[in-house]
């Protein structure tokens, strides 16, 4: 479903990677590994369409993601270094806005349930700036429960999470892959899968 051909990206005067190619089918988890500065984040941002590659093409269901634009972004969930939640808004409000922007119509009940499942019962209607780092991250990760996007691109999703949350996230990713989704992530954490296959990609040398 996701095909990458002859990808080349530069940052400033430095060439991060060149002639990179892979194809991911439904039900695949891809680990992207590499040293700091090897271009992991750039690769993930390129896959999202945030970064325009210097060479090469990325296709989603056979069509270029630049041509698909909004149709591709509807199928995509990206989780970056920042949580992407507003500190002044409550967890509920944050998730409701996110869902509206993704074009989903969610009931308030669904959001309450998601927050409960991620372990934030009792914190739902506090402004998120009053939560701890880990709790903020949990609010952001609640999007994984609510989303219907088949392609997840997660940049270091396990940092700042405690053991329970790590386990929950692992099971979320495993369920997603088992249900025929694709997940691309950079992490040192192994994710045990119930079904589906794991690909490895090493960047840099």
């Amino acid at each position: 479903m996701l095909e990458v051909t002859k990808l080349e990206c530069r940052r400033g005067d430095r060439r991060l990677f060149t002639d990179l190619g892979f194809a991911l089918n439904a039900g695949t988890l891809m680990h992207v590994r590499g040293r700091n500065g090897s271009g992991k984040t750039t690769l993930l941002r390129t896959l999202c369409g945030l970064f325009i590659p210097d060479e090469g093409e990325i296709r989603w269901r056979g069509e270029s993601i630049r041509a698909l634009a909004e149709d591709y972004r509807r199928d995509l969930l990206y989780f970056g270094h920042t949580n992407g939640i507003k500190g002044e808004l409550t967890g509920l409000e944050n998730l409701a806005i996110g869902a509206t922007l993704d074009g989903d119509r969610l009931s308030e009940k669904a959001i309450w349930d998601a927050l409960e499942r991620i372990g934030l019962t009792g914190f739902e209607d506090l402004p998120t700036r009053m939560l701890s780092q880990g709790q903020k991250k949990r609010v952001a990760l609640a999007r994984l429960i609510l989303t219907k996007a088949p392609l997840w691109i997660l940049d270091e999703p396990f940092t700042a999470l405690d053991v329970d949350a790590v386990a929950l996230l692992q099971s979320l990713i495993a369920d997603h892959v088992a249900a025929g989704g694709i997940a691309v992530l950079t992490t040192h954490q192994e994710v045990p899968l119930t079904s589906g296959q794991i690909e490895q990609l090493n960047l840099g040398n």
């Binding site: 369409g49 945030l50 972004r73 922007l101």
Partner: protein, 223 residues
């Protein structure tokens, strides 16, 4: 479409209501700058009436400039802007909603306080009404054009000063016709019509093109 527009608009208004000082700062900046001029130029009413429209407009440009720096900055820092770029919505629609919210918070208050400022400069009632109308049409253009600059200078050191360097020259047409309308209203009220026709045309053109340019700029800045 409308649902998404309303979602962003109400989000930004809610955010501003939970941190009210930002809005008031802009408003007081405007009032203070305008109030300083009579102290510097002298309080003779003839002179005040002549410089009044220009001073109010220059102060409005500066105030809107000052507020623009914050337009995308907060969303940029916490990553919500990045998420907006990845939603299934056209980015220019989201930008338009953000600019609208920004104008309601910083432009509209200037329009509403204009009578007070006009009295400081001893403008006639007609001139004050014309000034309010001109600000009502003109300040959204300032926000729209300024959004392009705000998107380009996102996250840069000294972004605020750079922003004014980039954007103030582009504000010249609004300044010329905005203050021109008020000046001409002292002589003949009917003559203000072409000024409003021009400002209205600028507003329409800016409404169509500025969100597109701003979203292109945002994509560049967030690469």
């Amino acid at each position: 479409m409308l649902r998404v527009f309303w979602c962003i608009l109400s989000r930004d208004l809610t955010l501003a209501m939970r941190r009210r000082t930002d809005v008031l700062t802009t408003l007081f900046f405007f009032v203070i700058v305008v109030s300083l001029f009579p102290l510097g130029v002298g309080t003779e009413s003839k002179a005040l009436q002549i410089i009044g429209p220009g001073v109010v407009w220059v102060a409005a440009l500066l105030a809107s400039m000052l507020a623009l720096e914050r337009l995308f900055a907060a969303d940029y820092e916490d990553g919500t802007l990045e998420q907006m770029l990845l939603t299934a919505q056209p980015l220019s629609l989201l930008v338009l909603a953000k600019v609208t919210a920004h104008w309601i918070l910083t432009g509209l208050p200037l329009v509403l306080i204009a009578p007070l400022v006009g009295m400081q400069f001893q403008l006639t009632d007609n001139a004050i009404i014309i000034m309010m109308l001109a600000l009502l049409v003109g300040t959204p253009i300032l926000s729209l054009i300024g959004a392009i600059g705000a998107a380009l200078t996102l996250g840069l050191r000294g972004g605020g000063i750079l922003l004014s360097l980039l954007i103030l020259p582009l504000y010249i047409p609004i300044l010329v016709y905005g203050s021109g309308a008020v000046e001409v209203s002292r002589i003949a009220l009917a003559d203000t019509q072409p000024y409003f026709a021009l400002l209205g045309a600028f507003l329409l053109v800016a409404l169509i093109f500025a969100p597109v340019a701003s979203s292109a700029a945002l994509k560049i800045s967030l690469e």
